[in-house]
């Protein structure tokens, strides 16, 4: 198992800053995800780790070895490309066996052993029996598995996955997500995963790094990021939320009381900042709100009318109007609601996040 460290890595394409002084460490056996909107530099970062690009500043380490200028074929990483990059003129078997065959002598493998290991990998991804097909004869999900088997069969130090599920349909994606997680844990390979899908990132990862415009904004466990976003970008990017401008009345430690703009509502919330500026943003996630009033006197209780409701299956999404304020809420799908209903809501202070207005 290998630890991966990036120190101050940047990459420029002409005037575009694709990766901007990025540093992070991926621990042994960890599944680490780079999450960010498209074009933020995730793929470029991954390509630097694989050795397809060299950084313009900074260094890359595998354990304690500086691999910044090591050739890709000497790094023993295995990458699953977004487009799978299966060789169309080779069968599934030949595709998967390629990595073993080119290093046959080095690894002292006989053709028999290669066969055994290829079958092991194909079994791992549940593709046994398809080894003589050509990639174009396979479905998207199957191609994806071949790409995965091709990467796993060489028993890489580091597994690199670039949006591996983005070309699959929704149902298959969830299935593969679970399978990936299972495989990664059972094989214990250090894995770096790239995606723009926050649900995927949250459900798979040990830790997630949020990227924007080439920079790492925040690194942490999914739970940590979700509940303790460092700034408004992270808070806005992860999950859905209602965000309001407000004015700080009191700040004490990591708590603060804020008066929401254009209303006479004050809410209490928590903040990662030591000292908040006067004008702030208040982030309230729909699923933390409770219907009805609360015992905790620090929570804010508001009353309003249901202005809009939409049945989405597992819940009802609604908008509650409280004076000038509109609040996104999730209601249980068993509850019959009508527009115009009176609703009492509790905004729990522990889950109300107060952040500076700047995005970064």
């Amino acid at each position: 198992m290998t630890r991966v460290t990036l120190k101050d890595v940047s990459k420029y394409y002409g005037s575009i800053v694709a990766v901007d002084h990025v540093s992070f460490t991926v621990e042994k056996g960890e599944l680490f995800t780079l999450l960010g909107p498209s074009g933020c530099g995730k793929t470029t970062t991954l390509r630097i780790i694989a050795g397809f690009e060299t950084p313009d500043t900074g260094r890359v380490y595998f354990d304690d070895d500086d691999v910044t200028f090591l050739k890709p074929y000497k790094r023993n990483t295995a990458m699953v490309f977004q487009n799978y990059a299966l060789w169309p003129h080779m069968t599934v078997f030949d595709n998967v066996a390629y990595g073993l065959r080119v290093r046959k002598r080095e690894l002292k493998l006989s053709e028999n052993e290669i066969k055994k290991r290829v079958m092991w990998a194909l079994e791992l991804v549940k593709l046994k029996g398809l080894e003589h097909r050509y990639p174009l004869q396979l479905s998207g999900g199957q191609q994806q598995r071949v790409a995965l088997a091709r990467a796993l069969v060489v028993q890489p130090r580091i597994l690199l996955l670039d949006e591996p599920l983005s070309n699959l349909d929704a149902k298959l994606r969830i299935e593969m997500r679970e399978e990936l997680k299972r495989l990664q844990k059972s094989l214990g390979i250090t894995t770096i995963y790239v995606t723009h899908d926050q649900v995927e990132a949250m459900s798979l990862s040990d830790r997630v790094a949020i990227m924007n415009k080439g920079k790492i904004i925040q690194v942490g466990t999914p739970r940590d990021l979700y509940f303790n976003p460092k700034n408004l970008f992270v808070a806005d990017f992860l999950g859905r939320s209602s965000i309001y401008r407000g004015e700080v009345l009191v700040q004490e430690g990591n708590g603060a009381i804020v008066k929401l703009e254009d209303t006479d509502i004050t809410v209490r919330g928590v903040t990662p900042e030591k000292t908040l500026p006067n004008k702030v943003a208040v982030v309230i996630r729909p699923e933390v709100m409770k219907i009805g009033s609360s015992e905790d006197s620090k929570d804010t209780v508001v009353k309003g009318t249901l202005e809009f409701a939409m049945f989405v299956g597992d819940k009802v999404e609604g908008r509650v109007k409280i004076g000038n304020l509109k609040l996104l809420v999730y209601l249980p799908n068993t509850q019959e609601v009508r527009i115009g209903d009176e609703v009492t809501l509790t905004i729990p202070w522990r889950n109300t996040i107060i952040l500076p207005l700047e995005l970064e």
């Binding site: 420029y12 313009d56 500043t57 200028f69 074929y73 790094r75 487009n83 990059a85 003129h89 290093r103």
Partner: protein, 744 residues
């Protein structure tokens, strides 16, 4: 928008009028000597006006982004350069003065933009020097180095050095002359540039005592340098208009007979050196069908000779190059762009002029520029029409008459030809690469816009386009008929004779049985075979390094070197090899020197043929292979490197199998063009006849020398046509690629 006054096109036109008036005024009021001086001052001033206009805020970007304006700029700049070089005066120079504010504006604007881009690049380069060097070397692993260096060295050794040697040699003055004396001779003496021709009428009417009347179309002799340029310009312009017209009709309209017309339209592309021009000479001669038709209508027959004959031959042979490019360009124009314009009310010719043509223009002129170079270097038509007043013929005779010695004057002429070809080529290449947006419609496999033709249109097509296309295909058809001994090769008493022969396959049998002809055929096959293998290997090296090394400064040099052979006239290669090998022959030890020096009887001419073929036809192979690499997603390579394959293993295991089709089809095209190569084959073939290739044989015998008639040469021509037809079919139907010249 700021309220400051901005200079516009009308200001530039005003400046043109002003400077032209000033120029003419000078000749009215000043002494001839002063006027001449003044003329140059006005000229320079009008050029510099361009910078003034830029300072006044003329929107250079507008010219750059308008396909039409920038194309006009490129052509005018070329005109300007030709006038400067040849030193013509009078109206032609006045025109140059009139164009120069615009040319100055564009060239200075481009220069300014280039400088500022360098500056801004320097500003954004935050990358440390060490990282830049390391990353350059990172991409250049051993395999990459090998690929890059191999391609580079071959091109430097067998293209660049020979040409530099010609250049050097051209500056060897005759005894007592200045160092530039040869260029003075070539550009300023009436033997080469003659502004006061003896007969200034391009054609004249002769009435014979018998009352018969003949119109003789000859052209005007302005000396070889100007003649070549004028013919190249006429041929380029005519083929461009003709090719674009036919391509547009075929690309956009469907009518009965469409497929037949498409097939007929590429027939003239089939290259049959010498015999093709010979047939054209028959068909366009006094007793040919065209003349006969004219006599029936007007009472006068037509005879086409000399320069005019060369021009007609070249137009007929080169027009499919433009046609193929234009056809592909029209197909590639995004239909939604036309639909959008139509939606906004543009129709008919306006739609064509305002949307379709500008979008297709880069592809079209990419073909035109090849025609320009081909016309300059063409040797077949001048030899057949015995037209010595052309640069190509002069260089050819300079190379073949005095054995063992080429005069530096001829070298200077070669350099002049090269400079014209190169400048035109670079201007157009720059223009094309700048606006390839319309061409590179990535993966754009849309259905091109096709309309049915109205009744009037169909009549027009049958009356105009069909005869035109059949007409251009006549020479090849004539060659086939002659090889089958249907068309008689000589003018009989009653004109051109046609009749079924009792033994139509005689000429073909002759080819198979004659050991002499057999020798020429095997020579050609061996030379072209070896050369094409070399070219395919080099092309793979070059195309791979150019498409994968991301250090722009390195790849652009190699890329330019690899397309350069398209812009270098074959005769310049011949000159280069001749002078280089003569020099080497003198330097090297006698045993080797004797086999390398063209002056020696033991000269190994095959070496020159293989080198010349492989270098001259390299661009065709490179382009095809390059297209292959562009089709392959880089991820496919990276996946292999990632799994532990070194680049060498990756290239052989993964990439080559994937692009084999492209390598093969590029090689096929290269092979065809090698087999039909004329310039070096004919010059060096004459030096060592037993090692000469087929085209040399065709040149020697197309007139029927030594009992071998034109019919035998025509039979070889027919075989070449068949060969080329097979190649086209294989490329289109087996490799599923387009057969076009696009992408200079």
């Amino acid at each position: 928008m700021t309220g400051s006054p901005r200079a516009g096109l009308s200001d530039v036109i005003l400046a043109s009028v002003f400077f032209s008036a000033l120029y003419m005024l000078g000749f009215e009021v000043l002494t001839p000597f002063e006027a001449e001086l003044f003329a140059y001052i006005v000229w320079v001033a009008s050029f510099l006006y361009g910078y003034f206009a830029l300072l006044l805020g003329f929107d250079y970007v507008r010219v750059k982004s308008s396909p039409t304006l920038s194309f006009i700029a490129a052509v005018l700049a070329l005109y300007e350069i030709i006038v400067i070089f040849t030193g013509v005066s009078g109206v032609l120079r006045l025109l140059a003065v009139a164009f120069s504010p615009f040319v100055g504006l564009v060239s200075l604007g481009a220069l300014r933009e280039w400088f500022s881009s360098i500056k801004s690049q320097r500003e954004i380069a935050k990358v440390g020097f060490g990282y830049r060097v390391k990353s350059a070397f990172y991409q250049l692993d051993r395999t990459m180095w090998f690929f890059f260096i191999t391609g580079f060295i071959y091109l430097v050794a067998f293209m660049l050095i020979p040409i530099l040697i010609v250049l050097l040699y051209s500056f060897t003055p005759p005894t007592g002359g200045e160092w530039w004396a040869n260029f003075y001779t070539v550009l300023r003496t009436p033997g080469y540039v003659n502004l006061k021709p003896l007969y200034a009428e391009p054609f004249k009417k002769i009435t014979l005592p018998s009352g018969e009347c003949i119109v003789v179309l000859r052209g005007v002799n302005y000396g070889p340098v100007l003649n070549s340029i004028i013919i190249a310009a006429i041929v380029t312009a005519t083929t461009t208009i003709l090719g674009t017209f036919v391509a547009f009709i075929l690309a956009r309209y469907r009518f009965p007979g469409h497929t037949l017309l498409r097939v007929l339209a590429i027939i003239p592309l089939f290259n049959t050196p010498f015999i093709n021009a010979y047939v054209i000479k028959l068909l366009w001669g006094e007793y040919g069908p065209i003349s006969t038709l004219l006599r029936a209508i007007t009472g006068c027959s037509l005879r086409i000779e000399g320069l005019a004959g060369v021009a007609v031959t070249q137009i007929l042979s080169f027009y499919p190059i433009v046609y193929l490019n234009a056809y592909t360009s029209f197909i590639n124009v995004d239909p939604s762009m036309e639909e959008q314009a139509e939606n906004l009310g543009a129709k008919g010719f306006k739609l064509f002029r305002s949307v379709t043509l500008p979008l297709a223009l880069p592809g079209i002129v990419a073909g035109s520029i090849l025609v320009f170079v081909f016309s300059l270097e063409d040797l077949g038509a001048p030899i057949v029409f015995n037209e010595r007043e052309l640069m190509s013929y002069r260089i050819f005779s300079g190379l073949t008459t005095v054995y063992g010695q080429v005069s530096p004057e001829i070298a200077a002429l070669g350099i002049v030809m090269l400079v014209f070809a190169l400048i035109a080529f670079l201007a157009i290449r720059n223009y094309v690469s700048m606006r390839s947006y319309a061409m590179i419609s990535r993966g754009g496999r849309w259905n091109p816009r096709i309309r049915r033709l109205g009744r009037l249109g169909v009549v027009l097509v049958y009356l105009l386009v069909f005869p035109l296309v059949v007409f251009t295909a006549l020479p090849q058809i004539g060659v086939i008929l002659m090889s089958l001994r249907v068309l008689k090769p000589y003018i009989g008493v009653s004109g051109l004779e046609i009749g079924i022969s009792e033994d139509p396959l005689y000429s073909f049998r002759r080819i198979l049985s004659d050991p002499d002809i057999y020798k020429y055929v095997t020579n050609t096959v061996i030379y072209a075979g070896v050369a094409v293998v070399i070219a395919a290997f080099l092309a793979t090296c070059i195309a791979y390094s150019v498409s994968r090394i991301k250090v722009k400064s390195i790849t652009s040099v190699l890329d330019s070197l690899a397309v350069a052979p398209l812009a270098i006239p074959g005769l310049v290669f011949a000159l280069g090899y001749y002078i280089l090998f003569s020099g080497l022959g003198r330097i090297l030890p006698v045993q080797i020197g004797a086999r390398i020096s063209p002056a020696s009887p033991a000269f190994e001419a095959w070496l020159v043929f293989i080198l010349a073929y492989s270098v001259r036809r390299l661009p065709y192979v490179v382009r095809s292979v390059f297209a292959g690499f562009q089709q392959i997603h880089e991820n496919l390579e990276e996946a292999a490197l990632n799994l532990g394959a070194t680049r060498l293993k990756m290239v052989f295991g993964v990439i080559l199998p994937l692009i084999m089709g492209y390598i093969l089809s590029g090689s096929l095209i290269g092979f065809i063009y090698m087999v039909t190569e004329v310039s070096t084959s004919v010059t060096f073939g004459g030096i060592r006849q037993e090692q000469a290739p087929l085209t040399f044989f065709m040149k020697q015998y197309y007139t029927g020398f030594a009992g071998l008639g034109p019919e035998v040469v025509a039979a070889i021509g027919s075989i070449l046509i068949a060969l080329q037809l097979i190649v086209v079919i294989v490329i289109v139907y087996v490799f599923k690629q387009r057969y076009a010249f696009i992408g200079i």
